[in-house]
């Protein structure tokens, strides 16, 4: 099965296409979605096993030799991300059954999700910079569909911002690829890495590094390119928000990580310092936002920023602990953000508002939800033994090893702000005098709880079971730190 690494991309794609034929049959769509995602998950897991066993998997599409055709590369980093993406999507899809509403389901909600996953997984897997652009476009246009689906007033307004920003970033992405092509004459990422190393990364390549950082930074939401994000992400319904928050920004982070560990590794003092400074500023910006709002969605959205800052800080350190931490934290953040968004979705469903000031005393009526939220919140803040801890520990360790004392302490303090922001949700929404609630359907509530609980449980397991996961993370970090292994696997030298 040399095509194994393609399956997590192709299967969702196939099912997305098939779903187009069942536009009106919502039930069939749901079933097919679950089948498709489950099949992809199986493929993704076997891919992880395969990578663990045999090292980096590559596939040159169309049997063309490496730099000429498009190469798909699955190292542990991308395999892990692909798998977590699929897992989160599965639960979000199940969550959607009871929360998104049939109208949306009939208008290509599930195909759009599957298309988006195709794009996300493709971006994670591809070994070709232009192909990455294409996958970015796939996931973007699918996300455009999702963000605007339903055409509510606020959605439309925010979609314009979202789309505008992304169109611009795509344009810049394309021209940056063009610049890169002009200099190194190739599109294959391994080949680019090799050639940049050969020519010793002249200044112009560093410029391109910065450009790429900006391009991907728009998607990842780093400072000062994140401004569009809080408003736009808050517009669509919660399941979509969960997917965006958990996955889309991570694609940007992945791209930055990949390029900054494969291409621009010959002038670390310059490129990675910029990355580090921006990462720290992102954390600060995220902290400000996370404290500034009394809106559930906003608080969690700003927490995405903080997480991204933390991850990129880990990446910028370029040492083992930092990288392991970044990889670990990245996957943690995908899981926990997905879970948190689903939880606040339930809270919004129950209370009918996302304004914290209008909530209160939910613990009395919805105790399990409260405890679930608290666990997720502590996980987010990196309280051990939950999932956020080990990643942060490693990043902190890497930071100190790197001698970056100030930045590392900012990272530590950011945890406190994260905790404050989410505990505030807990205190306002779950504690306090209960407010009168609209009667809601208990059954829907239960149906929404089911995937949420599993996702939280997974994140807890991810934290507690670090020892099982760690070898994989370690492998991923290893490849990231040693670009030659990636290059060799692709170019088969």
């Amino acid at each position: 099965m040399i095509n194994l690494l393609l399956f997590p991309i192709i299967i969702p794609f196939f099912f997305a296409i098939v779903l187009l034929f069942f536009k009106e049959q919502v039930r069939i769509q749901r079933i097919l979605t679950v089948i498709g995602l489950s099949a992809s998950i199986v493929a993704a897991f076997s891919l992880i096993m395969k990578v663990k066993q045999d090292g980096i998997q590559t596939l040159t599409l169309g049997s063309w030799p490496a730099p000429f055709g498009i190469t798909m590369v699955s190292d542990m980093f991308s395999a892990l991300l692909v798998t977590s993406t699929l897992v989160i999507t599965l639960f979000v899809a199940i969550y959607s059954f009871s929360s998104i509403g049939e109208e949306r389901e009939r208008f290509f909600y599930y195909p759009a999700i599957l298309f988006m996953i195709t794009g996300v997984n493709g971006a994670f897997t591809t070994g070709d910079i232009f192909n990455m652009f294409v996958f970015f476009e796939v996931l973007l246009i699918a996300s455009y569909l999702l963000i605007v689906l339903g055409g509510e007033k606020r959605q439309l307004r925010e979609s314009i911002k979202y789309i505008l920003v992304n169109v611009i970033s795509s344009a810049f992405f394309v021209i940056t690829i063009a610049y890169l092509y002009s200099i190194v004459g190739t599109l294959n990422m391994a080949d680019i890495g090799q050639k940049i190393a050969d020519i010793g990364q002249p200044g112009i390549v560093s410029v391109i590094g910065v450009l790429l950082l900006l391009v991907f930074g728009i998607k990842a939401g780093i400072f000062p390119l994140y401004f569009w994000m809080p408003g736009s992400y808050a517009a669509p319904p919660v399941p979509i928000l969960a997917l965006f928050g958990a996955l889309l920004t991570k694609v940007g982070v992945y791209a930055i990580t990949r390029t900054y560990t494969l291409f621009f590794v010959n002038d670390l003092a310059f490129t990675h310092t910029i990355l580090m400074v921006l990462a720290l500023l992102t954390i600060v910006a995220g902290c400000i936002g996370a404290l500034a709002y009394f809106d559930l969605k906003q608080i969690i959205i700003y927490n995405i920023l903080i997480a991204i800052g933390v991850i990129l800080f880990g990446v910028s350190l370029m040492n083992e602990a930092g990288m392991q931490g970044a990889v670990f934290y990245l996957i943690h953040d995908m899981l926990i953000k997905g879970a948190l968004f689903l939880i606040i979705g339930i809270m919004i469903h129950v209370t009918g508002t996302s304004n914290l000031r209008e909530m209160g005393g939910l613990i009395k009526t919805h105790a399990p939800l409260g405890w679930l939220f608290l666990i997720a919140a502590f996980g987010l803040a990196g309280i051990p033994p939950l999932s956020g801890f080990v990643g942060k520990l490693l990043i902190v360790q890497g930071g100190f090893e790197h001698g970056q004392l100030f930045g590392t302490i900012v990272i530590l303090l950011s945890s406190l702000i994260v905790l404050l922001s989410v505990i505030r949700i807990f205190i306002y929404a779950f504690w306090g005098e209960p407010v009168a609630l609209q009667p809601t359907n208990r059954k829907t509530y239960k149906h929404m709880m089911f995937p949420t609980v599993i996702l939280v449980a997974l994140s807890v397991l991810y934290g507690v079971g670090t020892e099982w996961i760690f070898p994989y993370v370690s492998d991923a970090a290893h490849v990231l730190l040693d670009p030659s292994s990636y290059i060799n696997a692709v170019l088969k030298e």
Binding site: F130, R157, I160, V174, A178, A234
Partner: protein
């Protein structure tokens, strides 16, 4: 030639961004149109403009223009077509719902309670 083309593409970019920054939704869309033109020209330019024949095999011709950027542009063109169509519809739907095409009146910072 590349010098000239880079400047032309740069001007397209400048104009596009100027339009995108304006308040009228329609102008913004026009801007995105120009933006993609500029981007495509950039790709073409960066591939080198010195090709002496189209990259199609024909007897007796051995020097071609670089085909790869062309293929990339083709992909990019189609993608921007899809996106443009989408934005257009989005724009008029927004106009229909918001009753204005003034981006300044679509502030939406209501989260700042």
């Amino acid at each position: 030639m590349e010098l000239l083309m880079a400047i032309v593409a740069g001007i397209l970019f400048t104009a596009a961004i100027y339009l995108i920054l304006s308040r009228s939704l329609i102008k913004v869309i026009l801007g995105t149109g120009l933006l993609s033109h500029g981007a495509h020209l950039f790709i073409l330019t960066m591939g080198g403009l010195g090709g002496s024949a189209p990259p199609v095999l024909i007897d007796g011709v051995t020097e071609f223009a670089d085909p790869l950027p062309q293929a990339l542009i083709l992909t990019a063109i189609v993608i921007s077509f899809g996106v443009t169509a989408f934005i257009l519809v989005l724009a008029y739907r927004t106009y229909a719902v918001h009753k204005t095409d003034d981006l300044n009146s679509m502030k939406g910072n209501d989260e700042h309670d």
